[in-house]
């Protein structure tokens, strides 16, 4: 199948449109005949990362690549960065604003969820911004029967 590659901008605090990239990616994966379970894992990962850029960063971009054997997604934002990555990866740890919490976010489960659903995850951060990479392997059992 053709390689799919898309780039999107993600705006800071744009909570009403958060989930757009997850939704478009979900549609693209379904079209390729991937199973509901596999599609759900990727959707969860993209959604959580997308929300993080919206509620915690100054804005950024995401690149979604889908090939025959993997889905890889890279979120890049322009700051303020994560001071302690180890803490950020802890279940329940959150610095979410009251604005984010009122909107149902801030459970501190986003990064742990991404780690749980992906086959590989890499998080790098400085005051200049954060780069989150996640990869999902596509094997035969990832296709709908």
């Amino acid at each position: 199948m053709d390689t799919y590659s898309k780039k999107y901008n993600i705006e800071r605090n744009d909570i009403n449109n958060a989930g757009t990239v997850a939704s478009l990616t979900k549609r693209a994966l379904k079209k390729r005949g991937l199973s509901r379970e596999f599609v759900k894992q990727v959707t969860i990962g993209v959604y959580e990362a997308e929300i993080n850029v919206v509620i915690h960063s100054y804005g950024g971009t995401v690149i979604v690549n889908i090939s025959d054997d993997q889905v890889d997604i890279t979120f890049t934002d322009v700051g303020p960065g994560i001071p302690c990555i180890e803490k950020a990866l802890t279940k329940g740890y959150s610095t979410a604003s009251s604005y984010a919490i009122e909107n149902g976010f801030g459970a501190g489960m986003g990064l742990p969820n991404i780690k749980a659903v992906s086959d590989e995850m890499n998080l790098e951060s400085s005051e200049k911004g954060t780069i989150l990479y996640m990869k999902f392997d596509i094997t035969e059992k990832c296709y709908a029967s």
Partner: protein
């Protein structure tokens, strides 16, 4: 079971016109924190919440939940109803508390 079957309950009312009432419903997930819903709910679950927020719809449709039930008789804003129609997601409302409607649905055999 389908959404139209649980609508037989006198405790539930339908809030939107374009939800798919033939959606399968299986199991219940009650929560007001979206990352917990994202991480732990299963497809076709009935999602019970008091979170009066458009992101509820985003999550429900992204992970293929069966329908959304707003408990505690909360006043659901128009924006949510419009979005639910767009996504064909059935929106239900109840005067019962989250715990009470969970028990009620469970008695119905969801």
């Amino acid at each position: 079971m389908q959404v139209k079957d649980i609508l037989q309950s006198k405790h539930l009312t339908l809030l939107n016109q374009q939800g798919n009432l033939n959606n399968t419903v299986k199991g219940i997930f009650a929560c007001d924190l979206l990352s917990h819903v994202m991480g732990f709910a299963y497809e076709d679950n009935i999602f019970i919440t008091v979170l009066n927020n458009i992101n509820v719809l985003g999550v429900a449709s992204l992970i293929d939940l069966g329908c959304v039930v707003f408990s505690h008789n909360i006043e659901v804003n128009k924006e949510i109803i419009t979005k639910a129609n767009e996504l064909k997601m059935p929106l239900l409302s109840t005067k019962l508390t989250t715990a009470e409607i969970t028990i009620e649905l469970s008695k119905m055999g969801v």
